[in-house]
Subunit: 294 residues, 2 copies
């Protein structure tokens, strides 16, 4: 199967899992469940769940089906976007080509739907891996650490504070990107490895590949925000510059940013190639992210 | 030891655990961790962690130390208050006698601190009970279900919607209170039972006691809002009536509300008395909640 077809298969598998593992929109509270589904079904690249599934596949999905872990990761990612779009944060109207949750519903509903997606992620892990509680506990720990106050949320907080200061130095910017973006990409590969039954030695390679891939992904995001348009992106373009936000582009310039993304992506590929199994799909994915247009 | 002294010991134990299990305010992001600690250290009755500790004690804390579970429950309760106080929700300035988190910091910081407390709750469970992953997974599942979109958050969502409609019928009000308040009280007793190594048969009794105790607690809250003042409560009094909110008082009247609280509290005591161990402290706690003034 070529890369594009394999990607399509994994995205479809993730979306099937999302539909199955979220409460039905008819269950009370119906409005809350509708808002959770609205945000989760808005599409997007499904990068993180695809990484979970692909990483588990490297080890032959030996320990457990990684689908629930993939859905849990996407729940956490989506909650972070829903809260990030709120008026008190980035105040954004558009996400994945559709109105943001607080525009489609209202602020309180978006707040609660984000809270509920975060909580659901942990319920999914505890329920789905109940037969292998050692795995369930390891997955909960990995996800809670990546999404916690030392990583994902620390990155968001420092990002906001840097915006208030009118910029960030290269070191502060690296802290923001390693936590706001790379933490969840790392966790996706590591959680896939856990479901796959990866040997303990493989975790470091997965984590390093995830870190570099996450950083490269963020730089491309910054480049697209600076150089693309809203229709192509499906979210508001040019908002970093308008907000006076520190990005790799504003700190290092477009050419240096492109070179950094390339180098990080190559670093991720090197780490991936040190892992067992057929890493062809993951290496192609790393390369394809360099040339993405949205 | 008399009831008041025993309560004081358990509260002090819970507060020690809170201090130990939250990231230091000096760790980056410092502002985020300061806001988490501000909200968690604001005091309050510590009802839920005390219930976790006392329920585990009924069974001699046989399986594991319940302190981390108690702290996790308080993290989730506090996050729900921080988000509930935000301008898009209840828009409140005062909580536990101090400015609410978004007043002491700002809206974005309060939002993120709430998110971080919720996430930290699950990290605490996975870390602290890592040596007994079956227990860790069971605790995560219990807490995530109680705090999830079918229970705690469903109750909050329906509460807001009822306010928008200008009231709720008795059945809708019961749904709100069973989920917004009783779910976490139930989970506190059940999680304590899990740490205590309670036999499977004890869970139903703990859950029933928690449900009745939680409902009684909510009715007293409604009564205090209607009859007490802001200085005594440490939070804004009279806001239910001003918001046109459906409460047990507005739906059933003060006298009927008092009778319902008494009956529920007696029901909780009956359920508790069916449990093994010395239930004296928990029964006294149930009775003391009836006469609380804040």
């Amino acid at each position: 199967m070529d890369f594009a077809s394999e990607l399509q298969v994994l995205v479809a598998r993730a979306e099937g899992g999302i539909d199955r593992l979220l409460p039905a929109a008819s269950e009370p509270s119906a409005r809350l469940h509708a808002a959770m589904r609205y945000s989760m079904q808005a599409g997007g690249k499904r990068l993180r769940p695809v990484l979970v599934l692909a990483a588990s596949g490297l080890f032959g999905d030996r320990r457990a089906d990684p689908l629930a872990a993939a859905v849990a990761v996407e729940c956490v990612h989506t909650y972070s976007l829903v809260h990030d779009d709120l008026p008190c944060m980035d105040d954004d109207d558009l996400r994945r080509g559709r109105p943001t949750a607080h525009r489609a519903f209202d602020e309180a509903t978006a707040l609660l739907a984000g809270d509920a997606l975060l909580t659901r992620a942990f319920a999914i892990l505890a329920e789905s891996y109940g037969a292998d509680p050692g795995l369930a506990a390891a997955l909960v720990r990995e996800l809670a650490d990546a999404a916690g106050s030392r990583r994902l949320i620390a990155g968001q907080m420092e990002d906001l504070l840097a915006e208030g200061r009118g910029g960030a130095d290269p070191q502060a910017l690296r802290f923001i990107h390693e936590n706001k973006t790379a933490a969840m990409v790392e966790a996706s590969l590591v959680m896939g490895g856990l479901c796959g039954g990866a040997p303990a030695g493989a975790a470091a390679g997965l984590r390093d590949a995830g870190r570099q891939l996450g950083l490269a992904f963020q730089i491309i995001d910054d480049l697209l925000d600076a150089t693309s348009d809203t229709a192509t992106l499906g979210k508001t373009a040019g908002k970093d510059a308008r907000a006076g936000k520190a990005t790799v582009v504003s700190v290092h310039g477009i050419d240096a940013a492109r070179a950094m993304a390339r180098e990080l992506s190559q670093g991720a590929v090197s780490s991936l190639k040190g892992l067992p199994g057929d890493t062809g799909f993951l290496c192609s994915l790393a390369q394809s992210l360099l040339s993405r247009t949205h």
